[in-house]
C-alpha cells in the first residue's frame, strides 16, 4: 500500500524583498518545503513504519521546485520515492488547478490508500488544496486532523480539532486528510538517511504525462502588494543593560504605557 504525502515547494516567505513602492519580490528567495507540510510527511512516515506501506512524496510546480537540495531534504525525511510534476504553466496557479493536477498525479500512482496534506502552504496558506483533492478523487476528505491511528485493514481512527470541540471518526480508506501542524514533530534527518536519499528514485512528470491539458486559470491575479504597516520607530536603545532598560521605561512612560 502506498501513502502519498503532498508537499508544497515554494519561495521562503522569510526571503521576500519589499520595495519602497510596496512591491514584493520572491526573485531571490530560497525554495523550500513548506513548514506546515513537514508534520504531514512525518505523520505519513510514522504510519508506514508502524503498519507497513511505502511513503511517496508528491509535489507540483514550476521548474524551481526541482532542485537537488529540496529533493534530498524530502527523501532524507523518510519518503521512499519523490514524484514531481514540473511545468512552467504551474507558476502561480490557484487551488482549483493545483488540486486538479495533484488528483491526476495521484491517479497515476498505483495502490494509493491514503493521501496526507499539511494544514496550509507556506506561501499561500489558503487551506484548501487537500480538501479539494480528496473531493476530486471522490474519497472521504477531512481537514484539521490532529491524530491518525491505523485500526484495521481499510479503516483509520481519526481525531479532528475544531474551534470548540474534538471529533473522533472512523474513516474508511481511501481517504485524503489535511493534518494540523501539531500532529507530530518532524524528525531531523540522520547522516545515514541523508546518504540514502541520493539513491532513492525521483520521478519527473510533465502535465501531459498526468493527462492534464488546458489548465485554464480559475482566478486572475491583479496585483501583489506589501500590506500597509504601521510605521515603527525602529529605535535600538544603546548603552549598558541598565541604561537601555532605563531609556525603555522612560519611553514607555511617554507613550502612556506605564
Amino acid at each position: 500500500m502506498n501513502i502519498v504525502v503532498c508537499l508544497k515547494i515554494s519561495p521562503d516567505p522569510e526571503d521576500l524583498e519589499i520595495g519602497n513602492d510596496g512591491s514584493v519580490s520572491a526573485a531571490h528567495a530560497e525554495w523550500k518545503i513548506g513548514g506546515f507540510d513537514l508534520p504531514a510527511l512525518e505523520a505519513g512516515v510514522r504510519l508506514a513504519e508502524m503498519h507497513g506501506g511505502r511513503v511517496i512524496a508528491l509535489s507540483i510546480g514550476p521548474p524551481p521546485i526541482n532542485q537537488s537540495k529540496v529533493r534530498k531534504d524530502i527523501l532524507s525525511r523518510g519518503a521512499e520515492e519523490l514524484v514531481l510534476v514540473v511545468d512552467e504553466a504551474l507558476q502561480d496557479v490557484s487551488t482549483a488547478e493545483t488540486a486538479r493536477v495533484l488528483a491526476a498525479a495521484i491517479g497515476k500512482i498505483e495502490d494509493v490508500q491514503l493521501v496526507l496534506f499539511g494544514e496550509g502552504s507556506a506561501d499561500l496558506y489558503f487551506q484548501q488544496t487537500g480538501v479539494q483533492v480528496g473531493e476530486r478523487l471522490g474519497w472521504v476528505s477531512l481537514n484539521a486532523v490532529r491524530d491518525v491511528q491505523w485500526v484495521e485493514e481499510g479503516n483509520l481512527l481519526v481525531q479532528r480539532v475544531l474551534e470548540q470541540e474534538i471529533q473522533v471518526f472512523e474513516v474508511p480508506l481511501p481517504a485524503a486528510l489535511s493534518v494540523t501542524s501539531d500532529i507530530c514533530e518532524p524528525r531531523l534527518a540522520s547522516m545515514r538517511e541523508i546518504l540514502r536519499a541520493s539513491k532513492k528514485p525521483v520521478v519527473e512528470w510533465s502535465l501531459a504525462d498526468v493527462g492534464v491539458e488546458n489548465l485554464s486559470a480559475s482566478v486572475e491575479i491583479l496585483a501583489v502588494q506589501a500590506p500597509p504597516r504601521a510605521a515603527r520607530k525602529g529605535l535600538i536603545l544603546n548603552g549598558s543593560v541598565e541604561e537601555a532598560v532605563g531609556s525603555l521605561v522612560i519611553a514607555l512612560k511617554k507613550e502612556g504605557m506605564l
Binding site: L124, S141, F169, D182, V219, E220, L235, L248, L252
Partner: protein
Amino acid sequence: MSSQQRIFLISEDISLIGELASAARRLNGDDYSSIAAVVVGNQTDVHQVGSYGVDSIYWVDQIPDGYLFEDVFLTLLELVQQHKPSSIWIGATTSGRLICGRLAARLDISAITDVRSFEQHENKVVMRHMIFAGGAERLERPLRLPALITVAKGQFAAEVVQHANPPKVITLPFLIPEKRAVLLERKDLPPVSVNLADAKRVICLGRGIARQEHLALAENLADELGAEIACTRPLSEGLGWLPRERYIGISGAYIKSDLYIGLGVSGQVQHTVGITDAKVIVAVNRDPDAPIFKQADYGIAADLYEVLPALIQAIRSTKGA
C-alpha cells in the same frame, strides 16, 4: 455580471452569517436580486438570520445522529446546481473550509479565501487577501462563476436590517451523503485560558527562552505589567511549554494590544503577522540582526536574562516613585 444575481451564504456560526450578509451587500451594492442563507439550526437561529436582511432562508432543522454539519454539503450542492448563484459566501471556520473545498472541487472553481476587503481595480471589483503568511496581499478576481468566497469572523460587522418583508423560509430535507467519515465521539475542548485578541498588554516569549523553568521569570514581568503571556509557535507546538491559544502567528492568535514585548523572539513573518496591530512593540534579543528589530518601536540588543530582572526592577521603582 447580470442584474439578476442570487447570492448564497452558509456558516454553522449563526452570527457569522450576519457578517457574510454585510460583506455580500458591500460587494454587490444594490446589484443583486436576492440573498439566501442556508441555516442548520433551530427556530431561534432562523429568526436571528432573518434579522440580517436576507431574502430567503433554506432551513435544515436537524442533522441526523452520527453526521456532521459539513455533511450538509450534498444538500447545498443540490441547491447550487438548481439555483446557479453568482456568488457563495462561506464563514472561514474549520467546517466552512471543508465545505468550501468540496464545493470548489465539484464546481471546478477556486475559492478566494479569508477576504479582507473589496476594491475597484481598473474598473473591476477585486478581492484582497493575505499571502506569504502576511508578508504580502494579493488582489484577485474569480474568472469562473459562481464566485466562492470565505470570510473570517470579525472582518465585517453584522448589520440588523429592517426589511419590508420577512424572509421566505424554505425547509429542506437533509440529503444523506454516500461516503463519509463516521462520527464516533465528540468532546468539548477545555475552556481556553486566555483570549489574546482582547489582551491590553502582551509579553511574548520566543526561542531565546532556553528552558521551561524560565517561564517563571517572564511571569514576574507579566504580573508587574498586568500582561498576558504569549509565545511563538515552537514554544507551543514543538515544545508544548504553553497551550496553543497562547501562540501568536499565522495559524494562531492575532493581537491588538497597546503593548507587545517580545523576549527572545526572532521575528519571522509567520509570527509578526500576528502583531502588526499592536500599538507599541518592544523587542529584546541577543542577536542585533534579528528581523524583529525592524518591526519594533524600541529594541534592546542584549541577553534577555539580563534585561528581564533589570526591567522588572525599573518598573517597580517607577511605581514606587
